[in-house]
């Protein structure tokens, strides 16, 4: 018998691991996609009580036990189920304890041993389910019911959790440690299981549940506050839609102005600089430095530096006048070359009756001579006539220049 059970268990677990893919898909989506998996596999899993079909019409689902196993091991927050049936668990504990005591009394030790291990199993299952329930509640609080999005849904979730907490607490009241201790009597094993282990987990569960309850109330308060705010805003919008010309009365005209609307004007203006304060000297110098830099930038916008249209015609005329001088100077040089005579600039000026200012003309001639290349200058001899300045010595006033061939 035992060997058979062992074999069956191993083959069940093997089936679970072989079809892990199918099971996880079903766990996530809720139902089996029958088109994706072979009918034979599904059939065999149904026979092993892993899958089942609730009724002829509906789709195939995971068995609750498998689901529970996965939820517990994966710490899935979607798990909202709280197993609060402590009363019946306690009753079965009492029954098993009575069996054990009876077997001891009749000295059937092998039987007693089996009952004790069964009892231990039940006690640990009970403590585990209690701590599991508390953990489930905590995980939902810790992410503030993040698996639902709207505030209203969060409030509903919170109310569900609160009712579960009070249910758990009322179930915990069923623990009667005086009865349990009486039942255990002087038996060491029974005391260990029924009194020590259970009491330990009981006190921890009640302690944690009271924390959970506090947190839930706090969260509910916050959610209600959020909902209140949202409703306030939406209500205001609705009101403005119905009465677009609504304007609140001017409360500032009341004799007792509400503090909310009594907001004083700013009266602090920047202080002025005290240039006589020695300790500010450095800072002020930096500031002055910045001002200089600013000035340079500001000059970019100067009115005088603005781009203006260049008058091309006028410039051409000016260059024409210069051209005239140049031509006259060249003509003078050519005349000297042609005739081979020495001729002063003013004599040429007079002869040709040029209408330039004599002084400008002399400058042009000197400039023209120096404007020649060195080799060309070799052909000419230039001499100046004039007199030293009567007042400032070292200055020589040129009255005329004489040009000749060398």
């Amino acid at each position: 018998m035992n060997q058979n059970m062992y074999q069956a268990g191993v083959s069940l677990l093997n089936a679970l691991s072989r079809h892990a893919d199918l099971i996880m898909h079903t766990y996530m989506s809720g139902t089996v996609d029958e088109s994706k998996y072979s009918a034979k596999v599904i059939e065999s899993l149904m026979q092993q009580d892993v899958l089942w079909r609730p009724d002829g019409e509906s789709k195939i689902r995971l068995k609750h036990a498998v689901r529970n196993l996965l939820e517990g091991s994966l710490k899935d927050e979607r798990n909202r189920q709280i197993d609060a049936n402590i009363g019946s668990a306690l009753n079965s504990l009492k029954t098993l304890a009575a069996h054990y005591k009876e077997a001891i009394y009749h000295q059937r030790y092998a039987e007693a041993e089996a009952h004790l291990s069964d009892l231990g199993e039940h006690v640990y299952a009970l403590t585990e389910s209690m701590s599991n329930n508390v953990r489930v509640l905590f995980s939902r609080i810790n992410n503030e019911f993040g698996y639902v999005s709207s505030i209203d849904a969060k409030i509903r979730e919170n109310e569900l959790a609160q009712s579960q907490v009070s249910e758990l607490l009322s179930q915990l009241e069923l623990f009667r440690f005086d009865e349990l201790s009486e039942l255990a009597g002087s038996n060491r094993e029974l005391r260990q299981l029924l009194v020590v282990t259970l009491q330990h987990s009981f006190s921890r569960a009640t302690q944690e549940l009271s924390i959970v309850q506090g947190r839930l109330l706090e969260l509910l308060g916050r959610f209600r506050e959020f909902r209140g705010r949202t409703r306030l805003l939406k209500g205001f919008l609705l009101h403005m839609e119905q009465k677009p010309d609504f304007a609140p009365g001017n409360y500032t005209n009341l004799t007792q102005v509400p503090m909310l609307f009594n907001q004083a004007e700013s009266i602090i203006k920047p202080a002025s600089v005290d240039v006589n304060r020695v300790e500010h000297e450095n800072d002020l110098q930096v500031l002055v430095g910045n001002i200089k830099a600013l000035n340079r930038i500001a000059r970019g916008a100067d009115e005088d530096r603005k781009a203006s249209v260049i008058q091309v015609e006028e410039q051409a005329e000016v260059s024409f006048v210069e051209d005239e001088y140049k031509q006259a100077v060249e003509a003078y040089f050519c005349h000297v070359i042609d005739t081979g005579e020495r001729l002063t600039a003013l004599q040429y000026h007079e002869k040709q009756s040029l209408n330039f200012d004599p002084e400008v003309w002399i400058y042009q001639v000197i400039g023209g001579y120096h404007g020649l290349s060195f080799e060309e200058q070799q052909y000419f001899a230039i001499d100046t006539t004039g007199h030293p300045d009567p007042v400032y010595d070292g200055n020589f006033i040129i009255e005329d220049v004489e040009l000749g061939l060398r």
């Binding site: 306030l232 609307f261 009594n262 004083a264």
Partner: protein, 211 residues
């Protein structure tokens, strides 16, 4: 060296709202027992008094006695506040919807501009709503682009002290205590004018007509 008290006093006199988000040090200073009395006596000298809103979340300076001149100032302020109510309420609801979590904007809420923008871009109804909001005189956007409208709205709200941009490089804004002040103003108007706004919204939800 200026003392903390001097700094807080200057903030109050310059018309600032002091909350935990905008200036935690100053806020804690006022909260510390004894300090508010010291500030009070200094403020009284200038015809001001320390006022708080939203259960002590926000502090600001109010006038101690109101003469003609002060009434004119707060009258003008009130006109501005009541004119800004509708745009602000519409904005708050838009952000709440675009955030996806259905949680109202409160003091300390972080608003990520890029996330909000992508939600609004993907939802034409929100984009329309944003365009409407940005056209209010309070925000004064002339942009035809969603990006520009959103930035302008957030910029104005930052200027007005409703939002804070802790890092200039990042487009993340934090709501200040002035938002709480705003809720209180609406709550006050609701009570004083007996508008029963909450009930209106509730019945509208039940009828499923809107929202």
């Amino acid at each position: 060296m200026m003392t903390e008290q001097g700094r807080v006093l200057e903030l109050l006199l310059s018309g600032a709202f002091i909350c935990q988000v905008s200036d935690e040090d100053a806020w804690r200073f006022i909260k510390t027992s004894g300090n508010s009395e010291k500030l009070e006596s200094q403020l009284n000298m200038l015809n001001r008094t320390l006022a708080s809103a939203a259960d002590g979340d926000v502090f600001f300076a109010a006038y101690l006695t109101l003469s003609e001149k002060e009434r004119k100032v707060i009258g003008a302020q009130f006109q501005e506040v009541s004119a800004n109510l509708l745009p602000l309420v519409e904005w708050l609801l838009l952000i709440q919807q675009a955030n996806g979590s259905d949680v109202p904007v409160t003091s300390g809420s972080a608003l990520r501009l890029s996330e909000i923008q992508s939600v609004i871009e993907d939802t034409p109804a929100y984009a329309e709503q944003l365009e409407k909001i940005s056209r209010y005189r309070m925000f004064g956007s002339t942009s035809t682009q969603l990006d520009g409208q959103l930035k302008q709205v957030f910029k104005r709200l930052t200027d007005l002290g409703y939002l804070l941009k802790p890092n200039q490089e990042k487009q993340i804004y934090i709501a200040t205590g002035k938002i709480e002040y705003l809720y209180e103003v609406i709550r006050f108007i609701d009570e004083t004018e007996a508008l029963s706004l909450t009930e209106q919204a509730e019945s509208a939800v039940q009828q499923g007509s809107l929202l």
